[in-house]
């Protein structure tokens, strides 16, 4: 701790200490909270602490992106899924299929951490300081990151856009209920088959209903999605009450 205070000015040291405590407490909260909603809120706490550390480390743009993307989008997505699925009940810690797993996991984690800290003691890997892409002054950060993304890493940036498109398509495909599968007609309960037949009604005049699925299924899937989602909400309310 004396090393910390000697090397740094007092405000920096205080900022780092507070943000580090926030991060670690939030991380422990994510792991230890029994309710998934509490875990998600603790995750927000950790992410904010890391954003503070980003500012402290001269990465202002990333700090803003961290708050906007992580706390603003990803955690909200988590909360939406938790609440829509109705899984915000406590996890049953008593039923342990593999009793030795928890102590062994904690032991392994602590051994790994100790190993890293002992091996790197005082000699964290360094390297030559960059001469081509300097970090610049704090006001330059966004410009420099943008320059780096759009020149040096332009190909990676384009590939990233492909990845995002794939993710969107994958999410849409996963969220659709597979209605054209042969075994699914008899599968769902009456509450879900009712809306399906209702949406199939106008389409039934089409002779090749099952073959022309993909093109028509898209628009139909969105219309049916709202109804089946309502059905699920009702189901989850029934199970939770």
């Amino acid at each position: 701790m004396t090393n910390l205070l000697v090397a740094a000015t007092i405000p920096d040291a205080i900022t780092f200490a507070v943000a580090a405590v926030i991060c670690v407490v939030g991380a422990l909260g994510v792991v230890l909270a029994r309710n998934p909603v509490h875990s998600a809120l603790m995750l927000v706490m950790t992410l904010f602490g890391i954003a503070v550390l980003f500012v402290e480390e001269n990465a202002q743009f990333l700090a803003a992106v961290q708050v906007i993307v992580y706390a603003g989008a990803i955690v909200v997505l988590f909360l939406f899924v938790i609440m829509l699925l109705g899984v915000d009940r406590r996890e049953a810690f008593e039923r342990e299929p593999l009793p030795a797993q928890r102590p062994v996991a904690i032991l392994l984690g602590i051994i790994g951490l100790a190993e890293v800290l002992l091996l790197a003691r005082g000699r964290w890997p360094g390297g030559a300081r960059s001469v081509s892409a300097a970090l610049g002054t704090p006001g330059d950060n966004t410009r420099l990151v943008g320059q780096s993304v759009f020149t040096t890493y332009l190909l990676a940036f384009e590939v990233t856009s492909v990845l995002l498109v794939v993710a969107v398509v994958g999410a849409v495909v996963l969220a659709r209920r597979p209605r054209h599968a042969p075994g699914d007609e008899a599968g769902p309960a009456g509450a879900t088959t009712e809306p399906d037949e209702a949406t199939d009604g106008p389409e039934a005049t089409d002779p090749e209903l099952t073959d022309s699925g993909p093109a028509e299924g898209e628009g139909d899937g969105t219309a049916g999605g709202g109804r089946t989602r309502d059905g699920e909400l009702a189901e989850s309310e029934v199970t939770s009450s």
């Binding site: 422990l28 890391i50 997505l77 300097a134 420099l144 990233t160």
Partner: protein
């Protein structure tokens, strides 16, 4: 003058360890997913620390890409989780041992 980089790296190692232990210990799929996010953030902190230490903006660019990949991963992963829960409500990671739904 700001804090020495080794403190940031130590903190990142601690956060990563907590995330890894949580991933191994918890049974709820959503919480396991959050632990993965925790580990990603620890790695991000390391990237930014080395970007400052080596005075190179490429580390921050790497964090930018990690953020994008994390967002895509969350979208697809949550889609999978939703479809799993749709078939078997209240499923934990132990119940998902077969690839057939």
């Amino acid at each position: 003058m700001s804090i020495d980089a080794s403190w940031y790296l130590t903190l990142a190692a601690v956060l990563f360890t907590i995330g890894a232990i949580g991933l191994l210990v918890r049974r709820n799929v959503l919480v396991m997913f959050m632990c993965v996010e925790l580990m990603l953030n620890a790695a991000n902190l390391t990237f930014v620390t080395f970007a400052r230490k080596l005075n190179d903006v490429a580390g921050q660019t790497a964090v930018f890409f990690v953020l994008v990949v994390a967002a895509a991963e969350v979208v697809v992963g949550l889609g999978i989780i939703v479809s799993i829960y749709r078939r078997r409500p209240g499923a934990t990671a132990d119940d998902i041992h077969g690839l057939k739904g």
